[in-house]
Symmetry: C2
Subunit: 723 residues, 2 copies
């Protein structure tokens, strides 16, 4: 690491911390300083030749405005608890399970018009004439309920407290600091306020170089319960974008009217796991169009003030999804987001239509990690090695850190490690930022969301691990750092325009009925026919978990492409059919799994091999993998794939096997799964990565030439192309 170049690094700072900050700027080669929610910068810092970022909140933090414009408050549709009627008279309390400091029913807009009472036992909407509201008790009364039916009320609610500010407020005990009331840019007064306030702010802050929008107008769906605990969280949820004005505008633009149930969705609130309905897709499009139009006004103002506009990827980002069709129009210079994995790095780094991307690395400088006796280097090292794999495929333009710099400075070993990271980052960036890495094949991840939610499959709350998703998320994490091109396709995409000609392998991964596996769209004959034909023509199809599955078996199959994958799932109905597990592991599976220690995670129960597939049984003798020839193509099935280095290698080999590209894989390859090879033909360079904290030896094939390598812990070794 002889490189001494500086730059591409953003750090936070603190008040009364000027000299120490200067030292760290030097050590880490930082060229930008950011503030954070709750920190103020030392005025002396402004004397340095650095870029300055300022966090900017568009639609909160102005309670003087919000309080005087109560109708401009942000809103969402909520479902009451489910209440069983014991008699025809039934009272449903709206606020049961909600936090009254965050949520209040909207009594301004006529409940009879904008609310819905639903009989959840029949699915029928109760006639408005059959219920009344009582504002004093915050409840709805039914007069002709059917005994022992369950009822819910879907009501429009005001959101009186920005959820992120609320979380920070409660977590940091900010006491009687007023609650940030979020206001809705769709309200004309709010729109005027937002624009005029920014105008004035830009004038008042000439020293700021980068306006870091945190974020724009609408928070992802985040609702708290009566104990002020998180109750519902969907990082991708559009719940908080609704209002009477939005409903009216939608009707005018899209030509039909949405119902409360289109938002409430029986209590699932259009979770990203739900196969999106056309109505919800229409609504997303409608909000994206509107947010784009409003955001681009603000960005233009920033540019007019000779500043850059940066968007934080999170919090109030709804409607500004970076892979959406209108995003580029906003005209942002940059997007910054938190890097917790290779997958989240790619989510940021791959964003099209911006000048640069920045990743905030872990750990955040907070007392939970930076406490006496703890070694923050452990998390930093894991974070860097996980993210570095992905960086080798698509480098971020900048990296950074957040939190309290004073805390981090107390850990000299950590300060040194960050110096190593920033130097290594710049070195990688210098070598490969302007070149295209070699890919041995092109992979399409096929699900209900496609490109819009690139690298975002299975996310509930950013960075949290879920028992029901980790066995699927591993697929994206593996792909994030592999020498393959990755694209995301939706079912609608391929039904509309077919499978792109350059795709070698498609992957369908997820659990039955979800947007990621697909749900009942697999009963669409055109879909299965298209894929069968494409596979038979010589391509590869990989299913993981419950791919191509319908909740009910359809025409005798649960996996609708069982014929391609060589596997189906029993639902007890087929127990009468005998299964014979008398085949040895097939040679094709042996090739794919060679020398790997496999972990199928939560796996998938009750699998059966069909159509003469080769199969692998593992663990409690359950079926875990199948491979199958299908025409000139191949199907591969894997029961689950949590992220491990061995599992990543399993996927890489499976993809090359499925695509009939085994020999191409072996051209540039490390036999040790802890070691990965990346090739940069434009530079004549190879990178050999040790992805572990231990020494690793490996046989190596570079340009087909065999050699061996011994790598230090964490090492990245650059090699010139062998002749």
């Amino acid at each position: 690491m002889s490189d001494v170049r500086k730059g591409q690094v953003t750090i936070p700072s603190d008040q009364d911390f000027f000299d120490a900050t200067k030292t760290l700027i030097d050590k880490w080669g930082a060229d930008a300083i950011r503030d954070s929610d709750g920190t103020k910068l030392d005025p002396e810092l402004k004397t340095l030749s650095m870029k300055f970022y300022s966090t900017y909140f568009v639609a909160r933090g102005h309670n003087e405005f919000a309080a005087s414009h109560p109708a401009a408050v942000q809103q969402l549709y909520l479902m009451s608890e489910r209440v069983v009627a014991y008699t025809p008279t039934l009272t449903i309390g709206l606020m049961a399970g909600y936090y009254d400091q965050q949520i209040q029913p909207n009594w301004r807009d006529n409940p009879k018009t904008y609310w819905e009472v639903i009989d959840r036992t029949t699915g029928m909407v109760v006639k408005p004439a059959d219920w009344t509201v009582d504002e004093a008790s915050q409840s709805v009364q039914l007069s002709a309920a059917i005994p022992f039916h369950e009822y819910t009320v879907s009501f429009l609610a005001d959101m009186l407290w920005d959820p992120t500010e609320m979380y920070n407020h409660l977590t940091n005990n900010w006491g009687d600091k007023p609650h940030d009331i979020p206001f809705d840019v769709r309200d004309p007064a709010a729109r005027d306020f937002i624009q005029s306030y920014l105008k004035q702010w830009l004038k008042a802050n000439p020293e700021i170089d980068v306006v870091r929008f945190t974020t724009f107008f609408y928070h992802f769906t985040l609702v708290f319960d009566q104990h002020a605990r998180e109750k519902f969280v969907d990082w991708l949820g559009y719940g908080g974008t609704v209002s009477v004005a939005a409903l009216k505008a939608f009707e005018q633009i899209k030509g039909y009217r949405l119902r409360p149930e289109d938002f409430v969705d029986a209590g699932f609130y259009n979770s990203t796991f739900r196969p999106p309905t056309q109505r919800y897709l229409d609504y997303i499009d409608f909000v994206q169009r509107f947010v784009t139009d409003q955001a681009k006004i603000l960005v233009a103002m920033v540019h007019s003030a000779d500043k850059e506009a940066m968007m934080f990827l999170g919090d109030n980002w709804i409607g500004a999804e970076p892979y959406g069709p209108y995003f580029k129009e906003i005209g942002l210079d940059a997007v910054v987001g938190s890097v917790g994995s290779g997958m989240t790095l790619r989510l940021i780094a791959d964003i099209p239509g911006v000048k640069y991307t920045e990743g905030r690395f872990l750990p955040y400088f907070f007392p939970d990690v930076f406490r006496p006796g703890n070694d923050p280097v452990i998390e930093a090292r894991a974070n860097w090695l996980t993210a570095r794999r992905a960086l080798m495929r698509k480098p971020l333009d900048r990296i950074g850190y957040g939190g309290y710099l004073k805390l981090a400075a107390q850990f000299p070993h950590f300060v040194d490690y960050v110096a190593h990271v920033t130097d290594e980052f710049r070195d990688i960036s210098d070598k490969i930022a302007d070149t295209i890495p070699y890919s041995s094949l092109k992979v399409a991840v096929l699900n209900g969301w496609g490109k819009l939610r690139s690298w975002q499959s299975f996310i509930v709350a950013h960075g949290k691990r879920y028992e029901q998703t980790y066995s699927y998320e591993g697929v994206l994490e593996a792909l994030a750092g592999q020498p393959v091109d990755v694209m995301f396709l939706s079912f609608n995409d391929i039904l509309a325009t077919g499978i792109p000609a350059d795709v070698d392998v498609m992957i369908n991964v997820g659990s039955v009925g979800t947007a990621f596996s697909g749900g009942d769209i697999w009963q669409e004959p055109r879909l299965v026919t298209l894929i069968r034909q494409w596979v038979a023509a010589g391509h590869g199809f990989i299913g993981i978990g419950e791919p191509t599955a319908t909740a009910q078996p359809y025409q005798g199959r649960r996996f609708q492409l069982a014929d391609v994958l060589g596997v189906d799932q029993e639902l007890a109905f087929s127990l009468s059919t005998d299964r014979y597990w008398d085949q040895p592991m097939g040679e094709n599976i042996a090739w794919i799994t060679k020398d790997l220690t496999l972990d199928f995670g939560t796996g998938t129960p009750n699998l059966i091999a069909v159509a003469d597939a080769q199969y692998l049984r593992y663990g409690r003798e359950q079926l875990r993998m199948t491979v199958k020839d299908y025409g000139a193509g191949r199907g591969v099935y894997i029961a689950g794939l949590p992220y491990t280095l061995d599992n990543a290698r399993l996927l890489l080999r499976a993809m090359h096997y499925a695509a009939h590209k085994e020999s191409i894989l072996m051209q540039n390859y490390a036999t040790n799964p802890n070691v990965e090879v990346h090739v940069y033909p434009g530079k004549g360079l190879y990178a050999v990565l040790n992805n572990t904290h231990d020494k690793q030896n490996s046989e190596l094939f570079l340009n087909g030439k065999h050699t061996v390598v011994e790598l230090e812990p964490d090492e990245i070794r650059w090699e010139r192309e062998p002749q």
Copy 2:
């Protein structure tokens, strides 16, 4: 065991084994001798004052008739393999995967009328004009197949070999012994033959006392594959009852025509796990009516010959289901069946409408168990203790053994053990055969089959254990020997006539979508309303596994009675909703599970507690039980319940808890779960059973009076009612 009374015991015998048989008759107190498939009795036996049973095959074993009446052969509908079309021309071989010595396509009846080619990608039937048949190659040709659609042919096939005879033939290497061709009583010639042959046989066999029908006309569905291995087995399947004559008769009687798909059912063949369609229920009724009419003719002939008619419960028993509505009309004297468990004992012992029941105990005298170095007492003891619990509730009238008596006689320790069993059986029978045991509550098992398949839930092949069923079957096994009245109710029963007034607790147990859990019938508002109302009025509802579940969530719930049970199942859609596992185990669950070691089997994944239920997490911290008050009643949920003595106790406590009958349970109770108490008020007797092979101590409550007991291994202790 001072009783020296003989009787109520049937044994097999052998040729050249007269004296040894006499000794065993004496030792075991046998009063009846049976032959078996493959054994011949010693003529001298006939001199003894015993009853003689003769196995009698009605519809096979007469190849001279069968060969001369090829159209009378038994038939079934089969589905070809699923074949993908690569081009519009597609050939589907009918015999792929079938055993040509068992199965041949029926070319006599016009395929264009009686077969169906189905596009399994669309579910559409292909027009007969678009396919042709080729008898020489046993195949069907499509001329206008849609490329990359999957097709199947449903064809009518002849069954050329009785499946049970085939199994015995292949297993015992009977070589070139001709294959028994089954013929169909629906054919007028076959009917005449069957009746006239029986008439002649009855005359020719005056020494036979009991005609043991093995069985009547139609074998349960049992098909073999191209390697002569079992391919499809459904002990309850009506697949082998069909023919053109049957189809025509059905249409005349029921007023509509069945399709091949009504039998083939996309390859599931109406497995007992499928929620029965009305068409299949109609067909079952139609076959039962016909079989009853034909069987009662034969039984009347037996009676005219002054013999008894006994039916073997199995093999060719289809249409003569003992819990069916017409069964009693057959006029049988007895039913005999194999006892592998408490559940199968009750299946036989509870049969209504016969003079006596007989259970064949294990082990069967075959060389697999009776081999040098093996101790057959191990299996005999386990079998007896498992069955004895159930016998205490509803005694069989007779017990017996089968196989080669010569083999058993070589194991003197086993001979002694059977003497113990037969004596203990007669002692129990003497004490309780004519009295009604005390029941502390009445339990109804609620599923799609109801009374028709009493004690037959989850059976695929008689006596086999399946990974997907053992966690549910344990419920019936537990109930079989518990001091509760058990009845079986179908959804249609309670929709038609409500829940019987004397039921205290209903149990719904099984996996989602099956006949046992129920499937989509749970979307019927009347069903859930009826049960909610009933529970709220003070009754108990117990769900085990995936009770009340629909494959797709309906109105936000997967378990449609989640409100009663306090539990629902996640399908990823609700991951956005936070779950807080911060409650300690509730006192109600603590009461139910007191001192028990629990085993939830395969359990049920992704459960969530709802509606303020008390819950239990167990094992890998998964939710495993909930209890909930519901009006004046209670719901209890258990994730799975394989049969163990502790689990049986768990169920017993849960039922009494659900029914608010905790104090009644404790009136007659052993605190040690290995010990069970039965009360016979009419006799003033208590039986205290040690269900294990170890000594057991227990506190005991008899008539509410506390005492302690120490029991020898396997002991049954009789006590007079304490005053």
